[in-house]
C-alpha cells in the first residue's frame, strides 16, 4: 500500500521482555515508517502494552533493539528523554491529572520548555491560550474547560488524553486502546480525529475494536504471545488462519 523509501521512524528488532521467566515480548520485530498510521491488534496479554512500555522507556528489553528516527537507541534513554525526542503516549487506562482542570492538563502537555526554571517563571501567554483553545475545539471539551479532569466521564478522559498528546506535538503518537468505553458515535469521531492527526504525524494505535480498526483503513499488525503473527490489510489479517485460530481460541 505505502511505498516510502525513507528509513523507518521506529524500528524494533528482536525485542524480548521477560517477567519472571514469562516472555511478554518474544523476539518482536516491527518497523513503522515516517508518516504512517499502524493499527496493532491481538488478544489480551499479547504484549501490545508491553511493546509501548519498551518504546517509551518504561520497560527495558532483555534483548533486542529499539531505534527511533534512525539514530536514537531507545533502550538506553529514560522516559523523560524519550518524551522529549517526540514520542507521545496515551495510556490504556486513561491517565489524566484528576486534580487539575481540563485546561491545565493541556497546559502541562503543551510543547514548551519543560525545565524547572522555565516552569517557575512561566507566564500566561497568547500563544499558549490559542493552542489550548484550538485543542479544546478539536477534542470537543470546550464547555468543560475549567472542570476538574477527575470529574470527566471515561470517554471524555480518553479525549482529553488525546488532546494532551496533540498538545505535546510529538512526531510519533502511541495510542493504547483509545475507544474503550466510548459510544459508537464517539468511536467514529475518534477514528476521524486520528486520521486527521495522521496527516501530519506518525501514529501507532492499539485497539481491540475491529470496526474501529476497519474504519482507520490502515496496515494492521497482529501480535500474539509477544511476537508478530500476521501483518497486512485488515482483510488479509482477519482471514489469516492463525489469526482466526488465536481469536477463536480465546
Amino acid at each position: 500500500m505505502e511505498s516510502r523509501t525513507t528509513t523507518s521512524l521506529l524500528y524494533l528488532d528482536g525485542v524480548t521482555v521477560s517477567f519472571d521467566g514469562f516472555r511478554a515480548l518474544n523476539n518482536l520485530s516491527l518497523a513503522i515508517e515516517d508518516g504512517e498510521m499502524r493499527a496493532i491488534i491481538g488478544p489480551n496479554g499479547a504484549g501490545k502494552t508491553t511493546m509501548m512500555d519498551v518504546i517509551t522507556g518504561k520497560t527495558r528489553p532483555d534483548l533486542g533493539d529499539a531505534v527511533f528516527a534512525g539514530s536514537y537507541d531507545l533502550t538506553t534513554l529514560d522516559e523523560t528523554e524519550i518524551a522529549r525526542l517526540g514520542i507521545g503516549r496515551k495510556f490504556q487506562k486513561p491517565t489524566v491529572f484528576d486534580m487539575h482542570s481540563v485546561e491545565d492538563n493541556l497546559l502541562l502537555a503543551l510543547a514548551e520548555d519543560r525545565s524547572a526554571r522555565a516552569a517557575l517563571v512561566w507566564q500566561e501567554n497568547e500563544h499558549a491560550s490559542r493552542r489550548i483553545d484550538s485543542i479544546l475545539d478539536t477534542i470537543r471539551l470546550k464547555p468543560a474547560r475549567s472542570r476538574l479532569a477527575g470529574s470527566l466521564s471515561h470517554g471524555q478522559k480518553q479525549w482529553l488524553e488525546i488532546g494532551m498528546l496533540l498538545a505535546q506535538e510529538p512526531k510519533l503518537l502511541l495510542v493504547d486502546e483509545p475507544v474503550a468505553g466510548m459510544t459508537d458515535v464517539e468511536t467514529q469521531q475518534t477514528a476521524e480525529l486520528l486520521k486527521e492527526i495522521n496527516k501530519t504525524k506518525t501514529v501507532v494505535v492499539v485497539e481491540h475494536d475491529m470496526h474501529f480498526v476497519r474504519e482507520l483503513g490502515v496496515k494492521v499488525t497482529c501480535l500474539h504471545e509477544g511476537s508478530v503473527l500476521a501483518e497486512g490489510t485488515i482483510d488479509q489479517v482477519s482471514q489469516n488462519d492463525r489469526v482466526v485460530e488465536v481469536y477463536l481460541g480465546r
Binding site: L108, Q123, Q168
Partner: protein, 387 residues
C-alpha cells in the same frame, strides 16, 4: 518577572493571612511593650515567647506542606533541617557569650574548655559573625537536602520508602549530635545564650522583636510558597503528586522538580529552627528526635494538607493544645491525645480543617450555580490547584 507571579499568587485567603501576620507583627509587640500589665489587653512576655515558638513551628509546617501537600513527598525527617538551622544559630549565639561563660574563655564555648579542647574546631570558625551564621542557616539544611534528595529522587525512592529513609537520616543525626566529640555540646547542646546582634536575648524588647521577626519570616515563606504553588511549576508538582510516571511521559524531569522543592523546603525549615533557638534559649540533640518530625506532619494533616494556611493553622492549634494539656494533670497522656487526634482527623476529616472547609464551600458554590442554571450539568467543583 517576579512581580507578576507574586501578585497572581495572592488570592483572598492569602490576603487575609498576610493581613493577620501584619497585625500580629505590630499589635503583639506593641501590647507587650507599650501597655501596662494592668491593661486588659496586655500580652505578657511569656506569651510573646510562646507565640514566637508557635510561629516557628508554623514555618516548619509550611515547609512540610510544600513538599507533602503539593508534591507528595512525605518527609518524616524535616525536624532535622529545623534542628540544623537551630544549631547554626546556636553556634552564633554561643560565640557571642565570649568571656561571660563559666570558664571565661574569649574564644571557646564552655563545653570545649570542659572537654579540654585546646582550640576552636575549624567548623566553628566564622560563626562569630551573624552574616556568616545567616548563610549557614540556609546553606547547611539546604545542602543536606540537596545531597539527600539528589540520591533519593534519582534512584526514584518514593512513598513509604522515602519516609523511612528520612526518618533514618534524622535518627542518625540525633546519634551524631549526642556525641561529645562531634563538637556541638553533646547531650547538653548549646545554651546559656547572652546576646543576639548585641541585644540581650532575655530582654523583653528582644523577645518582642524576635517574635516580630518570626512572623515576618512566616509571611515571607508563605508568599514564596504561594508563588511556587500557583506557578506552572506548582501545577507540575501537583501532577507529580497525583501521577508521577505520567508526568515523566510528558517529558518533565521529575527529579529536578522534586530536588528544587525539597531543597527550598529544607531551607525554610532551617530558618524556622534558627528563629526558634533564641526564643527558647536552647538547642540540643532531642530536636532531631524522629518523633518531632512525625509530630510536625500531624500538624499539617490536622490543618489541611495541600492548603498553606491549613498548615499554619494546624501547627498553631496542635501546639496550643499541647501547651494546654501538657501543663495540667493530663500531661502524661499528651502523646495518646496527639495520636488520637491524628487517627480522628484521618478518619473523619481527611482533608484537614481548612481543606474540609474549602471543600464544603466549593460544593455549596457548585450547588448554587447548578440551581441557577437549572439542571445544567455543571455540578462539578472547578479546579483549584491549592487543594
Amino acid at each position: 518577572m517576579i512581580a507578576g507571579p507574586l501578585i497572581r499568587s495572592l488570592d483572598r485567603g492569602a490576603t487575609i493571612f498576610l493581613t493577620i501576620c501584619a497585625a500580629a507583627t505590630i499589635l503583639i509587640p506593641a501590647l507587650n511593650l507599650l501597655t501596662p500589665e494592668s491593661f486588659f489587653l496586655h500580652v505578657p512576655t511569656y506569651l510573646v515567647a510562646l507565640f514566637g515558638k508557635y510561629v516557628c513551628y508554623a514555618i516548619l509546617a509550611l515547609s512540610i506542606d510544600l513538599i507533602w501537600g503539593y508534591c507528595g513527598i512525605l518527609s518524616l525527617g524535616h525536624g532535622a533541617f529545623f534542628a540544623l538551622g537551630g544549631y547554626a544559630m546556636g553556634m552564633y549565639l554561643m560565640r557571642q557569650i565570649g568571656t561571660r561563660g563559666v570558664y571565661a574563655d574569649p574564644i571557646r564555648p564552655d563545653f570545649m574548655v570542659f572537654l579540654n579542647w585546646p582550640e576552636l574546631p575549624v567548623y566553628w570558625y566564622g560563626f562569630n559573625y551573624f552574616a556568616y551564621a545567616a548563610v549557614m542557616i540556609l546553606l547547611v539544611p539546604g545542602l543536606l537536602a540537596f545531597v539527600f534528595g539528589w540520591f533519593a529522587f534519582r534512584s526514584r525512592v518514593t512513598g513509604v520508602y522515602l519516609s523511612i529513609i528520612t526518618q533514618a537520616m534524622t535518627f542518625a543525626l540525633t546519634l551524631a549530635f549526642f556525641r561529645n566529640n562531634f563538637g556541638f555540646g553533646g547531650n547538653n547542646g548549646l545554651t546559656d545564650f547572652k546576646d543576639i546582634l548585641g541585644f540581650n536575648v532575655q530582654a523583653q524588647a528582644t523577645r518582642a522583636s524576635l517574635f516580630a521577626a518570626s512572623v515576618i519570616a512566616l509571611a515571607i515563606c508563605f508568599v514564596i510558597c504561594r508563588a511556587v504553588v500557583t506557578s506552572k511549576f506548582g501545577k507540575v508538582l501537583v501532577a507529580i503528586r497525583d501521577a508521577e510516571s505520567r508526568t515523566r511521559f510528558l517529558g518533565y524531569r521529575v527529579e529536578s522538580y522534586k530536588l528544587f522543592v525539597f531543597t527550598l523546603s529544607a531551607c525554610m525549615a532551617g530558618v524556622a529552627g534558627a528563629l526558634y533557638v533564641p526564643q527558647v534559649g536552647i538547642i540540643n540533640p532531642s530536636e532531631f528526635a524522629p518523633a518531632n518530625s512525625i509530630e510536625a506532619v500531624i500538624w499539617v494533616a490536622v490543618g489541611g494538607r495541600g492548603t498553606l494556611t491549613g498548615a499554619v493553622l494546624g501547627a498553631i492549634l496542635v501546639n496550643y493544645a499541647k501547651t494546654t494539656f501538657t501543663s495540667g494533670m493530663l500531661a502524661p497522656y499528651w502523646l495518646f491525645m496527639l495520636g488520637a487526634m491524628f487517627v480522628l482527623v484521618t478518619l473523619f476529616l481527611p482533608r484537614g480543617i481548612i481543606g474540609t472547609w474549602r471543600h464544603w464551600n466549593a460544593e455549596r458554590q457548585a450547588k448554587l450555580s447548578a440551581a441557577r442554571e437549572d439542571g445544567a450539568a455543571v455540578g462539578e467543583p472547578t479546579a483549584r490547584p491549592a487543594e
